[in-house]
Amino acid sequence: MVATTLSKAALFETGAAKATARRNRLLSVPALVIIGIFGVLPLIIICVYSFLVAAPYGGVQWQFSTDAYLNFLFQRDIFDDTLQFTPDFLIIYLRSFLFAVVTTVICLLLGFPTAYFMATRAPAQRNWWVLLITIPFWSNLLVRTLAIMFIIRDEGLINNALMALGVIDKPITMLYTNFAIQLGLLYAFLPFMVLPLYSSLEKLDFRLIEAAYDLYATRRQVLWRVIIPLSRPGIIAGCLLVFIPALGAYVTPLILGGGIHLMIGDLIAQQFGSGRNWPLGCAQALILMAAVLVALFFYVRNTSGRIQHG
């Protein structure tokens, strides 16, 4: 690390290299422009849209209004124009939050031992494990969700097997339930937990474990007082990588919830489809974004705090 910094400094000593280095900055312009126009600007547009009035057939009318945010918690009475507290959306947000928390916790409970086991294998075997976890990480989420759907359907594999064995005589309804969504989220995001945990555990200094055993620590003490504290950055990163996409999940509840059990993602998409209320959809998206920013802030504060304490 020190050597790299030194040689990097040396590289920029020469005059010509200095000029190149300055010109090199401009190389990042195309990527920044593309993301700026087609990534950042759209986010600004939905901020503006959330303060406008919905047009009857989708889209917006350019007229200032805070109705979108009011509608999030209240419904205007048609007759006397009073606001009535309607917690429908809030319930969907809280339910999504609960789904995301349960997903994160169970993924951590399953993912930590898996990542630790992977990190303690011989290098050749380790590579195979990493590849096996990496493949589902990058595989099509729609197809993976479909695979879960085929298994838990009324005429799916589980029900067929149980009926053939005579355990049940009527299929157990699993699809389009909260259970289905929870299962789908776990299945979707488990690799998102294992990989960051693994990359943190892989760097673990096993001499510290040896030292702990030398000092008469039990296995359990080694786990809770040495391994887990040392892998804290990986645990936080993994939890964040599961929690954020689980909170905004769209595909999983769409397919496994069947439109009965909504999560935030479906709710937002609905406003742009059949709901035809773009400003409300934008406001809902921004409220989700705020929740994500809180999670990210928590992450930054936690990790930077750790560096300060050394």
Binding site: T4, S7, A10, L11, A16, T20, A21, R25, S28, P30, I34, I35, F38, G39, V40, L41, P42, I45, I46, L110, G111, P113, T114, Y116, F117, T120, L131, L132, I135, P136, F137, W138, N140, V143, R144, L146, A147, I148, F150, E155, L157, N160, Y187, L190, P191, I209, R219, I244, P245, G248, I255, G265, I268, A269, G281, C282, A285, L288, V292, L296
Partner: protein, 270 residues
């Protein structure tokens, strides 16, 4: 208690079983889906016999052809644009003295990774609706290409930047010392060393574009069906193992590209 020297200090009880359970949980549903693509019966979950017929009927299907064509046009174009710009950006952000705004630039590049997909989807939809309404601009399938390029850039950027940071800078220094012009030093020294990073980045960009459902579904106009959208349309009809066959093809493409990217990265490590 056993003598500590006789036990493997790294082991924790039960961790092996949990790891194996995780692997089974991840793979069994997908394997079942793949196996049923070979089912000769017309039910997705009732096994009757072995056939490749569903692959035949999937591959002969007109709608599948047009979806596959759209997907390839979008993914390949988005991969080329995003990998090129990501490579330039990675050089512009590592081979420089830290400049003001560097951390902001880094945040902008990574922004698409932090924003939940559904938000990106509705934001992009609103954006294209706005420019269509105000300026009458509609790029057709270009809308999807641009939307995909945005979220492909950070995926292409990560391995390229990692490669640049691993690279031995003294080589570039030596080239400069031997009177190579900056461009020649880049072309003859940096770029050849960077190729594995670029390939790995391009593979990842291609997969995320190829597999994207959420953003495509909201942004796609009529006639812009991609393969994931085609599968979604099929789910809503009575299902036959044809859908398993198409799903299997999609999975195999992902597996191929992930493995390629992984092998390149591993060769780098060794």
């Amino acid at each position: 208690m056993a003598d500590p020297r006789n036990i493997d200090i790294k082991d924790q009880p039960g961790f092996r079983s949990i790891a194996i359970i995780c692997l089974c949980v991840l793979y069994v549903p997908v394997l079942i889906l793949m196996i049923f693509s070979l089912n000769s019966g017309s039910l997705v979950t009732q096994w009757e016999g072995l056939t490749l017929g569903w692959y035949g009927s999937a591959l002969l299907n007109e709608e599948f052809h047009s979806a596959a064509k759209n997907t390839m046009i979008i993914s390949v174009t988005a991969t080329i644009i995003s990998t090129t710009t990501a490579t330039l950006a990675a050089i512009g952000m590592t081979r420089v003295k830290p400049w003001r705004g560097l951390s902001t630039a880094f945040m902008i590049i990574n922004l698409p990774l932090m924003v939940p997909e559904i938000i990106t989807a509705v934001a992009t939809l609103s954006f294209f609706a706005l420019i269509a309404g105000m300026f009458g601009l509609n790029f057709g399938i270009g809308n999807l290409i641009l939307a995909h390029t945005v979220f492909c850039i950070p995926f292409a950027y990560m391995p390229i930047r990692a490669r640049l940071e691993d690279m031995d800078l003294t080589l570039e220094y030596a080239a400069a010392d031997l009177y190579a012009t900056p461009w020649n030093a880049f072309k003859r020294v940096t770029l050849p060393l960077l190729v594995p990073g670029i390939m790995s980045g391009a593979a990842l960009a291609f997969i995320v574009s190829f597999d994207d459902f959420t953003i495509t579904q909201l942004v796609a106009g009529p006639g812009q069906t991609t393969l994931p959208l085609y599968i979604w349309n099929q789910i809503r009809r009575p299902m036959t193992p044809e859908i398993n066959a198409i799903s299997t093809i999609l999975l195999l493409v992902s597996i191929l590209f992930v493995s390629v990217s992984f092998l390149i990265a591993r060769r780098r490590a060794n």
